[in-house]
């Protein structure tokens, strides 16, 4: 005990970096007539280990600042230590809710670097898996957001629907959450008849459920009071912080990587990019719900047009494969926004440098400005409407 005490007393760090990570803007000690509160890292509505330092006057937020790093897992550094194949499972763990999109971003970056061709059937399977995963991510967001607003029941219904998607994706990929379904030059396994039949069954099921969600939840007067005109993010502000995905589409800009920088075979499908000009939490809410419908449309068309053929390219790289020297960038549209991977190769069998561009990081940076002057309850609503996944923000 006494030995431990002594060790603790010897502080190896100077005062300004010691112990608690107080930010540059929040000083230690007493505030005048205000409270400085730690919202997180163990707060029920910060969805994991996000920590937000807030200074409140009563319940009004004077300033708020997210403190990151509680779930930093060095994904970028790990990439430099692993071979190209070994790194793929990390991608399922960056954003566990839309793992397929991260898979795709990484596979796409490597394929673009090495010029690997992907068979047509694999492209379709990628689209199906990625869009189903997007739906499941949005459903989970929907349930969790309403949980933040104090409605306990919707998440159970959302999980019921989500469960069906997990069952479908489990058949080819073998996992239910952190998929590593993509391979360099294709996908790991084919969708069998049972999985395809389940998808055909699932599409009308979810289409039947969405109107019920609208009637019972979206049109609820209490919910509307909690999300309408809350967290207004003007387009100019979204641009300033580099927000993408439903956040920027909720502010009226129809920016979607699938349209703006077309990749894979997205130009073959008919779908709309839902936008809303209200800029508030309700706009982001309705954009996400509309995206579920659009993703269903894409899945429906992709399943109908699914060609025969290989699911993995014949020229797919072998485990100890080395790509040529060079660099490449590949962006995909994730459930939370633009996922970008910048890859530099020095010709060895592991990347020289890999940069992950996570949409959640930019979207979260809006929070500080958006939450100023709002009530604590509204801050929870704004935080939820940004759809944060903490491991993606910290990487």
């Amino acid at each position: 005990m006494s030995v431990q005490r002594e060790i603790c007393d010897v502080n190896p760090f100077p005062e300004h970096v010691a112990g608690d990570f107080y930010s540059n803007y929040f000083e230690k000690g007493q505030a005048e007539n205000t409270l400085i509160i730690n919202m997180g890292p163990q707060h029920p509505s910060t969805h994991g280990v996000l920590r937000v330092l807030v200074e409140v006057d009563g319940e009004y937020i004077l300033r708020a600042e997210p403190v990151l790093g509680y779930l930093h897992r060095m994904h970028e550094k790990i990439a430099e230590l692993k071979t190209y194949y070994q790194y793929m499972p990390n991608m399922g763990r960056v954003d566990y809710l839309h793992a397929m999109a991260w898979n795709w971003a990484y596979a796409g970056a490597v394929e673009r670097l090495a010029g690997i061709e992907v068979p047509e059937r694999a492209e379709y399977l990628r689209v199906i898996a990625s869009e189903l995963n997007r739906i499941s991510s949005h459903l989970l967001w929907w349930g969790a957001y309403l949980l933040d607003l104090g409605a306990f029941t919707p998440i159970m219904y959302a999980f019921d629907d989500r469960e069906r998607i997990l069952d479908i994706l489990q058949r080819p990929s073998g996992s239910r959450l952190t998929y590593s379904y993509f391979r360099l030059g294709g996908v790991a396994a084919d969708f069998d008849d049972i999985a395809l039949a389940k998808i055909r069954e699932f599409i009308p099921h979810l289409r039947g459920r969405l109107p019920m969600y609208k009637d019972l939840v979206t049109d609820n007067v209490i919910l509307r009071g909690r999300v309408e005109e809350i967290g207004v993010l003007p387009l100019e502000m979204c641009r300033r912080y580099g927000a993408t995905g439903p956040v920027v589409r909720g502010s009226g800009l129809a920016y979607d990587v699938r349209r703006a920088e077309p990749y894979s075979i997205y130009d073959r499908f008919e779908y709309e990019i839902p936008t809303d000009t209200e800029c508030d939490a309700m706009a982001r809410y309705s954009v996400r719900l509309a995206e579920i419908e659009q993703s269903l449309r894409i899945v429906e068309q992709a399943v109908a047009a699914l060609p025969e053929g290989d699911f993995l390219s014949k020229g797919a790289p072998k485990p100890r494969w080395k790509p040529p020297k060079g660099e490449s960038y590949f962006a995909v549209e994730g459930a939370r926004g633009k996922i970008g991977i910048y890859l530099v190769s020095d010709g060895s069998n592991s990347p020289y440098r890999l940069k992950l561009r996570a949409p959640g990081f930019s979207n979260l940076s809006l929070f500080s400005e958006a939450s100023k002057g709002t009530l604590l309850a509204d801050a929870v609503s704004i935080l939820g409407s940004l759809d944060l996944v903490i491991p993606e923000i910290d990487r």
Partner: protein, 322 residues
Amino acid sequence: MDVPFELVRIVIAILALAAFVGVNAVILVWVERKAAGFIQRRPGPYEVGPQGLLQTVADAAKLVGKQLFTPAGADPVLFWLAPLLAFLPIFVLLLPMPFGPTATGMEVNLGLLLILAFAGLNVLSLCLAGWGSNNKWSLLGAARAVSQAVAYEIPLLLSVLAIAFMSGGMDLSAIVREQGGWPWQWNLVLQPVAFIIYFVAAIAETNRAPFDLPEAESELTAGFHTEYSGMGFGLFFLAEYAEMIVVCGVAAALFLGGWRGPFGTDGWWWFLAKLYALLLSMIWFRWTYPRIRFDQLLVLNWKWLMPLAMINLLVTAFIMKL
């Protein structure tokens, strides 16, 4: 030894009420969890005992067995006074409750006044809990609790007064006796507005969703009882359910004819049936609605419930004078 009969009666009544509160809280928690399960399409508790009936007992045993932990920096006296203060007034609240034609703890002329007066004590306990815990979230919860309870006590009082005007007294048993057994002979038909105001205010007074702001889980972690564990939390929990029984019991007596039943089937069974119907609707609300925001809560009270209750009271008074 000459013990006054009234004293013996009150002691027996309090013991009986303690048993009633205990048993009903256990049943009510089970009912709530089963109803929540039904609403959320899941089975609810079903492992412990038949249909999970003993789940609440197991939970209570766990809570009793836990260490009574006082957090660092908390005021130990206030911290432990708060849960007791939340729970003890429940017995007084239930004393004048007319369970059946003869089953009343204590016949008091001013039974209604007694209930309303002691129901206010709840605020004090929430305030102490928030202040004594030395936790910022608790403090915010307590601040919410005080302004919410103070605001909603007024429409609650005004709506109840309308019934007192009609009956000409504040004796709960007398008010029940004046109503008939059939639904159209209930005060509900004469005072629908008062009933709605009473019920909304009662949900707010008992801090139930959608008005559960003092403990708002997703905003204030657990509000005023953030720092409580074990039986400290258990007493708050028990008090919440006991208070639900009180406010629904008063509503059943004032508006739904209490123990009166059709075809002369008067008895406590009718009272319990009406009580549980109201409790079930409270549970239904909780698992259906999102939480309201604090300013919206106060707007609802001061701009809608208060004026409505006032108008209702004035109209009642005017008609009674005619």
